[in-house]
Symmetry: C2
Subunit: 181 residues, 2 copies
Amino acid sequence: MEKTRTKEQLAEAAQLDVARDEFVTQWGTIGSAWGINRTMAQIHALLIVTPHALTTDEVMDELKISRGNAHTNLRELVGWGLVRSVVRKGERKEYFEAEKDVWKMFCIIVRERKRREIRPAINVLKDCIDRADGLKSPDALAFTKQTKALCEFMEMADGVLSKVVRSEQSTIIPWALKFLK
Amino acid sequence: MEKTRTKEQLAEAAQLDVARDEFVTQWGTIGSAWGINRTMAQIHALLIVTPHALTTDEVMDELKISRGNAHTNLRELVGWGLVRSVVRKGERKEYFEAEKDVWKMFCIIVRERKRREIRPAINVLKDCIDRADGLKSPDALAFTKQTKALCEFMEMADGVLSKVVRSEQSTIIPWALKFLK
DNA sequence: ATGTATTTTCATTTAATACTGAAAATACGA
DNA sequence: TCGTATTTTCAGTATTAAATGAAAATACAT
């Protein structure tokens, strides 16, 4: 009886491992499609579905990747704020754990992408608008009109995202769902 | 007098060309940061700030790229729906022009990314949830809880984006700006 | 049908990105 | 201080993605 239970438990554990592996692998693929480094996405996925914090060596082992690779991508994830490094008292090794709250994850990603992608784009647009400033030809006016429209749109989007993310609480999206037609 | 005017006009035209080039080049860089092929972003930028439709040869010439490259990326842009091919009566060459309305551009991009990136991610998550379905261990329950939270969030985001983009009019974002605190 | 303009494909090359593994640097306990 | 555990760096290598250019296919006028 005891033996049977153990067998079942082993089978269940194996099934869970398969599900986890599937998630990690597929999340890596999805990450690639999103323009994110495959390994970084996999490490993130691994940490998301692992209940406890992991060391660099454990990550290396799970994903069969080199130390350098694991290290670089863990640092990158920490840089994004999606992963925290934790130190256990009396232990020398560094452990890593992911932010698991989905809404917080979303806020972090939006804030970072705003900073890294939207802001620079707005700056480029402003620069182009300035360069063409004062020109009077029809082509120049068309250019200015187009770049200004783009710039205003991005500033608007930036503003909306700031507000969505400011509250740090997940009630806005369900709220929006109701109000939008 | 006539001569002076022409000189000024030439200088203005040159200045506009610089602004255009700057826009095209920088947009390519930004595109890369967004995970979009640099050349595709540059062609898109070029078509956005060119008042008239261009042929493949003109694009090749402007951006100093090969025919194959221009062709492939133009087709890709047409595939996204961001660029239309137009045929002029009596002419054999194919011309390309970009959708210039910023809100329409936004809607097209959101719809495509929903289809290409969000939907597949949701499917992966559902698949993982199914695999772990019925497992009773604490680890399994944690896994299920986490993947379900992710899945629900993405479905919610998908729903909000659908509604934002459904109306095909640019009034929603300014509206949202007012209502969000 | 033949010739020509135009588009499409694709084997090859080139460039960009990611990964490895080992050495160097750092942190820390004895 | 010395020795060891751990982290960090980075030159070299591998992998993947993008671009070239020329040949093949297609479309169309005569």
